[in-house]
Amino acid sequence: MAEPIKRKDFLWLGWGAVAAFCGAATAATARFMVPNVLYEPSQKFNAGPAKEFPIGVSLLWFKKQRVWIVRTEKGIYSLWARCTHLGCTPNWFLDQNRFKCPCHGSNYTPDGDVVAGPAPKPLYRCKVEVAASGDLVIDKAALENRPGVREKAPYFVEV
């Protein structure tokens, strides 16, 4: 050995190893706390080929998943069918271009905005994306109803 290792350097190295271990242990603990499998019912579902939804409000998944799928000229968004007043399920009325809640009469436009009744907030939109297969995937766990935000990805997808 040409240059003998100095005590000072050796200590730095040693403490460095301890510090690295502590850091790694902290990171590992953090990783440990992130579960890899869940026993929650999935909030995501595959709604089928995105291109096949007609323009307008689709009731295809209304009964099963409690969502409406709305297609406009530009793309698709999905509304969660839960009245923001007391949580009842509104119905779609094509002739009036309205969602109406049977419980206390709140009315919503196809955008989800309140036009009548006691509801305080617009309807929520679910996260939507188009998978590589062309299928529309809807995630009811991510919801948004703020105008300006809800019109953009991931709550709106161009189709």
């Binding site: 949580g87 009325f93 009036q96 049977p102 009548a116 009744g117």
Partner: protein, 446 residues
């Protein structure tokens, strides 16, 4: 106060409060009830002992008296693990303890010891079903008020009187032929006769104008607006007292109150923010059945609907009904009458189409107010149609936006003619029309 005085005062206060805690804990309501029952039992057994004809029986009863006297006062429960119930009802109602008192009867007249002979108690295995599977209430609780469940934050209060038959509906697919379920059966018949399915569906089968009733008994109390469910002064109804907020009272209010008062809506359109564009909302679209239904009718329908739940019992507990025979009809008119009832046409047009029911702000004859709006009275209007026109009308329906309004800026009438073309087809449609023409009043020549 000196420190020494404070020292004494608070040490004794802590002791006193702890004793208070012990006393409160020891003086549980159920203890008194059970001790009293044991006392009554000792008296009864002693009397029997004194009257006993022979020595053998006398000594047997003497032992029974001794055992009863020694019996500790304790919480007793029936565990029904399959149904997720742990019911402590027998703590205060020991007569119903299937293990301690297999006869399930006692001679006592006074509550809570009264245990009359009930055929259903004998025919149901209480050790497997426990109490609240049928009676509801809060089986885990051990105070009178909490156990019977008419308290805030308990959503299944005890079903009393005829309402218990709701539980028959929950497990017995054949409840219509079941002895003891007559009220529930009557409720089901009324639901069919009044045409509820014209607007409501049951588990997805039926009309789409209003809410699905297939799980109406599970409706959470917090999803109900209780503002107008209570006593009314003129046209203004207040809320029910808090402890009566339960879905049974909510359902029943629809048959004992004018629905206009129960859910008044916002016919003037002033509920939204000042300055915002706001549309009027009609009151509840449900026609007022309260006038034509007796108290017993209302209770019967409520009973049947309280049996509509999605909390299904395990299938080995469920009693399936035998398949009902296909109804046979003598002629087309009879069949048409059946179709009329099957799809709930009476819900809006009245029984036998004789009187159109209320449709808020719809245009009607001789009308002065929005609430006098009506659905068409079929016997009066059907005669104006040709068969093809009528077929078209039933198939296509009349969307709510096309229903003529009495007040133009008033709310859209809540009821409308749905599109039936997907549901009523072929022979059903033809025979329905035959039936309708048969009831139409003969038109005078113009």
């Amino acid at each position: 106060m000196t420190k020494r005085q404070l020292f004494y005062v608070f040490n004794f206060l802590i002791l006193a409060l702890f004793i208070a805690a012990v006393v409160v804990d020891n003086n549980r309501e159920w203890k008194g009830y059970q001790a009293e029952f044991n006392r009554l039992e000792v008296i009864r057994l002693k009397e029997a002992m004194n009257k006993a004809p022979d020595e053998a029986e006398k000594s047997a009863l003497a032992v029974a008296v001794k055992l009863k006297k020694r019996e500790p006062v304790a919480i007793k429960q029936i565990l029904a693990n399959d149904l997720g119930r742990a019911d402590r009802c027998i703590t205060c109602h020991p007569g119903f303890d299937p293990l301690a008192n297999p006869t399930l009867t006692t001679p006592y007249e006074k509550a809570p010891y009264k245990t009359p002979e009930v055929a259903e108690h004998k025919s149901h295995n209480l050790t497997k079903l426990a109490c609240t599977s049928c009676h509801m209430g809060q089986g885990l609780a051990t105070t009178v008020e909490d156990a019977h469940g008419e308290v805030p934050h308990w959503e299944e209060p005890m079903l009393k009187g005829v309402y218990i038959q709701a539980s028959c509906v929950r497990c017995h697919g054949d409840f219509k032929t079941l002895k003891g379920a007559e009220t529930a059966k009557r409720g089901k018949e009324l639901v069919d006769r009044l045409g509820c399915v014209g607007c409501h569906s049951f588990n997805g089968v039926g009309g789409e104008i209003s809410v699905d009733l297939g799980d109406i008994a599970d409706k959470p109390v917090s999803r109900i607006d209780w503002s107008h469910t209570g006593e009314c002064k003129g046209a203004e109804c207040g809320p029910l007292p808090r402890h009566q907020w339960n879905v049974k009272n909510w359902i029943e209010a629809h048959f004992t109150k004018d629905t206009l008062l129960l859910v008044p809506g916002d016919p003037e359109g002033h509920q939204c923010a000042p300055g915002a564009h706001c549309e009027p909302v009609p009151p509840s679209g449900m026609p007022p059945f309260s006038a034509e239904l007796s108290k017993e009718d209302a209770a019967a329908i409520t009973t049947y609907l309280m049996g509509q739940t999605s909390n299904k019992v395990p299938s080995n507990y469920y009693v399936y009904s035998a398949k009902e025979p296909e109804p046979k009809f003598a002629n087309a008119v009879e069949h048409g009458k059946f179709v009329f009832s099957k799809y709930g046409c009476a819900g809006c047009h009245g029984e036998g189409g004789k009187e159109g029911r209320r449709n808020y702000n719809a245009k009607a004859n001789d009308q002065t107010k929005m609430e006098e709006g009506r659905e068409p009275t079929l016997v009066k209007v059907v005669g104006n149609f040709t068969r093809d026109e009528l077929r078209d009308k039933i198939k296509k329906g009349v969307p709510a936006s096309a229903v003529a309004k009495f007040k133009e800026d008033g709310p859209t009438p809540p009821l409308y003619m749905p599109k039936w073309e997907e549901k009523i087809k072929g022979a059903e449609l033809e025979d329905l029309m035959t039936y309708l023409f048969s009831i139409a009043e003969k038109q005078e020549a113009w």
